[in-house]
Symmetry: C2
């Protein structure tokens, strides 16, 4: 069995050190093989301008967040996924990293940016990646608003992801339910690690929805957390269950796909505006 | 406003005449612009062999089902979508047709066949099509198990469908909930016209799940019927609401898509078996 966890918390806005400390303390006694933290867990979310981002963004894998998470990974003997603002030259990305106990690490840059993120971050250029976590379990990385695009989870599953790790800072009401469909339509596990709390930009409050969850390949909720508490969802799963794409004895979820009829997904003939 | 309806019933197995009569009588006093009947509404579902199919299959548009539905369409001044077993030379398809009050008509052959359908029917070769219903409202056609593949509804929406018409004979427990995600992820209306009742093949009972439903572009249930009664779901909608793909003032559902990163949907690098 493989023990997976979603850590739900509210980071300390604009303080990497305090946010990391909080994240680390929360899972001090956590025994798991794979731990997923929220999007931008090292910094908080509600940046007013690019200077805010610059103050907390870090290169990868040379930042203190990476070192902290690498040490946490080694100490817990667990793969760790976490979101952070990444700097690369004069660009910033809303990124997530997978770090393994042996120090191997992988970087994903958010493909679909949400709302004001477009003011600060460049759209991701890594594509949707699947990488080996502890025990070589193939995990796919996507971040928050990527959920809205069925193509994201689909690409991850087609490339062998057994677990989708989904660091999030959700503000819209739909994702948690939609992730049941993402799991079901791809027969994969998913771990949505969402944050809680409120942040403010100017006169606008941003409320994060919590309800971090772990779902099964049949689209069941294995664990779902509260909307407003700092807590951890833990589940023991068999990742290999996600290899079984059998729907009926005559239907295989991937074998039954008919890509010849899906070409408009890459080249839409007509676009609504 | 545009009045849409899903007619939920149990056809008379292997009797086209009795099934059509039942379908017609059920909506005798129905006032609607678009009426959707279930998959294989002219024949029932539980064919034992190809001879069963041959006994009820019809060419399109030269069969009596087409003529019946064309008349029904004209009489009600409503577009009609219905499922039927289609014969074309020595092949059979699980098909759905759209017939308009002016006699114009369109044919869709089910892309993703479910279970024993593969014994009788050829996989659809029309692709997923969008066609003009009454008042030129663009509707997309998909049938039952097509719901499982996010690509199907996606292609329809990208090609301008404002309403997905979804004749069904559902037996698995997941579709109705998943269609909320299909609506939401594409910001379209959907009409799932499902059948009810039980049919038997050998010693196996097939139970159809009813709960026909109409959903909104925000993934809400506008109407959902019972699991076991013959009844009709009706809703008045504004189809143009589906043209609005705005998620936030900075996010457009289709404008934010990044097809360059979706290429594996057409050419998967690795396939689970």
């Amino acid at each position: 069995m493989y023990k997976i966890a979603a850590v739900q918390l509210s980071p300390v806005f604009l303080s990497v050190e305090a946010s990391l400390k909080k994240a680390g303390m929360m899972c001090e006694s956590l025994d798991a093989d794979l731990i997923v933290f929220p999007e931008l867990v090292t910094s908080g979310y509600a940046f007013s301008n690019k200077d805010d981002v610059a103050a907390v963004a870090e290169p990868f894998p040379n930042g203190k967040s990476f070192r902290y998470m690498r040490d946490l990974s080694a100490r817990h003997n667990a793969s760790v996924v976490y979101g952070f603002p990444e700097s690369d030259g004069d660009k910033y990305y809303n990124s997530a990293a997978l770090v393994n106990p042996d120090g191997s690490h992988y970087l994903y840059r958010k493909t679909h940016l949400f709302y004001r993120e477009k003011l600060f971050f460049s759209p991701g250029d890594t594509g949707l990646i699947v990488c080996p976590a502890k025990n070589k379990v193939p995990v796919g990385l996507m971040i928050c608003f990527d959920w809205q695009f069925p193509e994201a989870a689909r690409v991850l599953a087609l490339n062998g992801a057994e677990i989708i790790c989904h660091p999030s800072n959700l503000v819209l009401p739909w994702c948690q339910q939609a992730m049941l469909t993402r799991s079901l339509e791809n027969r994969v596990f998913s771990i949505t690690a969402n944050r809680i709390g409120t942040e403010v930009i100017g006169s606008t409050s941003i409320n994060f929805t919590g309800q971090s969850q772990i779902t099964s390949p049949l689209g069941e909720i294995i664990q779902r957390l509260s909307p407003n508490l700092e807590e951890i969802a833990v589940a023991e799963i068999n990742p290999e269950a996600a290899r079984d794409k059998t729907v009926t004895e005559m239907n295989n979820l991937f074998g039954d796909r008919r890509p010849a009829f899906y070409t408009d997904i890459l080249n839409p003939r007509q676009r609504q505006t």
